[in-house]
Amino acid sequence: MSPKAKVEIAREHLAKAQEELNGDLRDAVQWIFASLEAAIDALAAEERIPIDQQHWKRTDAAKELHEKGILPSDLSTLHRELNFLRKAIFYDGEELEEDGFSVEDAVAEVEAVVEIASERAS
């Protein structure tokens, strides 16, 4: 899949996450995680950073993309937190325990990444 197509998918996932901010926050977490992964995939593909469909390689890629100056901040922590949170929603319990984590802030951060990926792909 081309970086451009991946960006489009990231956008669609982001829109669904934004919708769910007023609906089910648990679904918002799933969508925003999927959006961030797609955006990282798009940027990593351009930089020839291997992902191999592994979450942890995307975590590393997020850091590398920041070190290369492509992303203004290191989103590896956000990626790790979202991965942990989305699993916790499925595996740990029925309620979203945010523990100081703001889904709204996460959506805003991912939106910025999707914008960057979009500009670079166009």
């Binding site: 999927a34 992964e37 797609a38 929603i89 499925f90 595996y91």
Partner: protein
């Protein structure tokens, strides 16, 4: 005169698997710790052992009560998509600077025990099949409680998780994001498999062992689906049909 103690053996993956074992006295538990450490070494490559050693040192620094290597590594069933899973009982150590493939869960001792009583299958998994790297006594007590009270994972809890997960995977399947669909579907089918097995008094092992367990409990269709998402790159339409099958099973 000393009494001969049968060494610890891993419980059978059945409802009675744990209760068939003796409540662990200190000697029996020592034999488990020894066996588990041996398994942990055998199941890891040199690079994984290095990571584990660092996690263990950091857990000790935090005075954690126990550290357990869990998941596919503990079962020696790692696949290309496996993480390196740990369960810490006590404070959560910092994993900064360590490999990102680490997946580390932590529970305070009281919370861990509460999870066992609540029927959390992940906590039960840690206790039954995890490789315990160290234990100050909290896991031995937990094992004794699990045996004494015949604790078993709650199938209803797993069913709720499976339902939610399949539902989301189905939504995702409409987006065309193949990689995410495959990954989320694998998770959803794993949860469905775990629910099915728990509700049939079979304890689910590592993900790559579930298919065999499903076949043994009369669920070859789900077994084939799950295996397909682990070892193949099936067509999107095929994944969608598997999710529909899982949904029907859950609803039934």
């Amino acid at each position: 005169m000393s009494t001969l103690v049968e060494p610890w053996c891993q419980p059978a993956p059945t409802r009675s698997g744990l209760t068939e074992l003796h409540p662990p006295g200190s000697e029996l538990w020592e034999s488990r710790l020894s066996l588990d450490r041996k398994r942990a070494v055998e199941n890891q490559t040199a690079s994984l052992l290095e990571i584990t050693s660092a996690v263990e040192a950091r857990s000790h620094e935090l005075r954690a009560a126990a550290l357990v290597l869990t998941g596919s590594t503990a079962r020696n069933r790692r696949t290309q998509i496996s993480d390196l899973d740990y369960h810490v009982i006590g404070g959560r150590p910092d994993t900064e600077g360590l490999s990102s493939e680490i997946d580390l869960y932590s529970d305070e001792p009281d919370a861990f025990l509460a999870k066992l009583f609540k029927g959390d299958d992940f906590a039960h998994w840690t206790l039954r099949y995890g490789c315990i790297l160290f234990d100050t006594g909290v896991l031995r007590q937990a094992a004794a409680a699990a045996i004494e009270h015949d604790l078993w994972p709650d199938p209803e809890r797993k069913l709720r998780q499976a339902r939610r997960s399949v539902e989301f995977a189905q939504k995702l399947a409409t987006t065309g994001d193949y990689g995410a669909v495959l990954e989320f579907s694998r998770g959803a089918l794993s949860l469905t498999a775990r629910w099915w097995l728990i509700s049939h008094d079979v304890f689910p092992l590592a993900r790559d062992e579930l298919a065999e367990q499903l076949v043994e409990t009369g669920q070859p269709g789900l077994a084939k689906s799950l295996e397909g998402t682990i070892h193949r790159r099936p067509a999107a339409a095929e994944i969608s049909s598997w999710l529909s099958g899982a949904w029907e099973l859950i609803q039934a």
